[in-house]
Amino acid sequence: MNIKKLVFSLTIFVSAFLLFLPGCSKNSQNEILIGEYESLTGSEATFGISSTNGLKLAVEEYNNSGGLLGKQIKLITYDDQGKPSEAATAVQKLINKDKVAGIIGEVASSRSKAGAQICQSSKIPMISPASTNPEVTAIGDYIFRVCFIDPFQATVISKFAINTLKIKRVAVLQDVKNAYSTGLADFFIKQFKEMGGDIIEVQSYSNGDKDFKAQLTAIKAKNPEGVFIPGYYTDVGLIAIQAREIGITAPLFGSDGWESDKLTEGKAKDALEGCYFSTHVSTENPSPEVQDFIKKYKTKYNMMPDAMSFLAYDAGMIMFDAIKRAGSTDPDKIRNEIAKTKDYSGVTGKISINDQRNAIKPAVILEIKGGQFTYKETVNP
């Protein structure tokens, strides 16, 4: 190697080192670092955006009233683009580079599972705001959630279909690439049959598909009284449009993955008229906690919160409350305090964490009317 080349490569090396230097040495003593990973972009972008907005409100509230343990909370949010692999990378970074005390995330169960594996092996407490698949918290004792789980959600939907909609012949269209969707579909099929219903057809698609007509045509041929679609809002919108195009007039119904103001965008607005989905909270709930939250959220972001915002706010509040009770940022102590959470009064109702680290909470059914989600009924556990 000649001198010129050596000098050149040395310069590159040194400048690269200098570039990274400031990034390494900032762990301020006056801050408590909390990590968050969400899908801020990608096909479920509203999940991430709503969640992070809700969580920021919780952080702001603590910081404005003197902080937590005398320190300010600093939230570090990474975008996982809606991909489980990116979720894993984001969590690695939060734990190893940023050294956060606790982690909030994700909405989607597939991504929560990817992140939870890492949180569990590094023994950092994680609270998922809205992942409902039972396997998420089964990963280990550091993983919690502040929402109900899918076996319960499946029961709620089955009851609603049989008692309120009075339908017996139902087809299911599930997303096979999505742990949440297949899990919920399985629980629903089992539950619905137990209650005397009839599952006449099960079809599947893969997240990101655009053409669902083949599956829907097969469903239409069986003449169902209703179609259950446990999926995410982007796909559901397209499915609904295509279902109406090939002449399925039966109501479609689904689960909390539908919750997004983007669900009824464009042509989907008419296609989903008179359809139903189960979720965590209704914005029409008159309780002061809910209405207060809506007011605060609207003032700050100039839009309506959805269920994901409510849940992320509660997830943050429970994490901060646990840190306060623990009196330290030691991950083990925080974990123990989160596990002890009992009758915490959040914006999504009373939250108690049970032995499986899940929250036991009621579910609501919303009806889609003119592109808006209106309250239909509440089902208690």
Partner: protein, 303 residues
């Protein structure tokens, strides 16, 4: 029977979108003997051009005859935008490499493809956009219980018209004759006084404008577009082009239809989980028995 007719229509309208994209792959291969992997992303840009043009024209919802005029204007404008894009890509990325090994130009094509995808994510945003209703979707005919809506028919008819125009250009015009000559033997064609660069540019322009048309038709039929739709649809169309015999224009159209119909019938009657597996299994089987594809001609390797 009702279900069968409906599935047939579903398959044909999906197939015609594949076919339109496949035409671009096959034409460029026919002339330059390389796979333009950026072609699927030109299709994506076509769909987004339609989306933004509709916003620009203040197009809100379709009604009556005026909407049809608008739709045609948007279609033509997007085709022009993508034609310009295809022309530029060829001039900037591929032309300087024309004498380099085929592998170099292939890798460049992948680079251009990634560039378009991620620039798209940056500029358009990564979340899906709702494509406007350019043409009102109304039930047209009832065939033995199967309701047939206008959109799949619009897609099918537009695709067929474009393919007929393409065939006329290739078979009847001077440019088309020159194209065929270049595809047959580039050196000999240039010796006969054909301007090779012009023909190559022309091929990219035609191929890319067909991809743009596919993009608009896609938006009509499946009104959610995102910057990464080009990956999967480009890949499927590429498979269609290979299935039909790469380099053969009629083969690409046929291949597109076969892939579209297979996917639809497999999802409808067997299981959508095996949809891609079966579509690709058919391709492998066919290539085992007929390596040149359905309509491809055997090429004699000159040593």
């Amino acid at each position: 029977m009702t279900e069968f007719i409906q599935q047939l229509i579903n398959g044909l309208s999906l197939g015609s979108i594949y076919a339109l994209i496949a035409l671009g792959y096959t034409m460029i291969y026919g002339i330059l003997r390389f796979i333009n992997f950026a072609h699927g992303d030109v299709f994506m840009i076509g769909a987004f051009s339609g989306y933004y043009l509709a916003i620009l024209f203040g197009f809100s919802s379709a009604s009556g005859l005026m909407s049809l005029v608008y739709a045609i204007i948007i279609l033509i404008c997007s085709m022009i935008i993508c034609a310009a894009l295809g022309f530029t890509i060829e001039k900037l990325a591929y032309k300087p490499l024309r004498s380099s090994p085929k592998l170099t130009i292939l890798i460049t094509a992948i680079g251009v493809s990634l560039f378009l995808e991620y620039t798209g994510q940056l500029v358009f945003g990564a979340d899906p956009k709702s494509f406007p209703t350019l043409v009102e979707n109304k039930p047209v005919v009832t065939l033995g219980g199967a309701v047939i809506f206008s959109n799949p028919l619009v897609v099918l008819v537009t695709a067929v018209i474009l393919m007929i125009i393409l065939r006329m250009i290739v078979m009847k015009t001077k440019m088309g004759t020159a194209m065929r000559a270049v595809s047959y033997n580039m050196t000999a064609a240039s010796l006969m006084g054909i301007n090779i660069n012009r023909i190559i540019s022309f091929t990219f322009i035609i191929g890319s404008s067909l991809a743009a048309a596919a993009g608009i038709l896609f938006g009509l039929n499946y009104p959610k577009i995102d910057p990464l739709i080009g990956i999967l649809y480009g890949l499927k169309a590429f498979v269609a082009a290979v299935l039909g015999g790469i380099g053969n224009i009629a083969g690409a159209a046929l291949g597109g239809m076969i892939i579209g119909l297979t996917e639809t019938f497999v999802s409808g009657y067997i299981s959508s989980t095996y949809r891609d597996a079966i579509a690709f299994a058919i391709l492998i089987l066919l290539l085992l028995f007929k390596p040149t594809g359905l309509m491809g001609k055997k090429e004699i390797e000159k040593v």
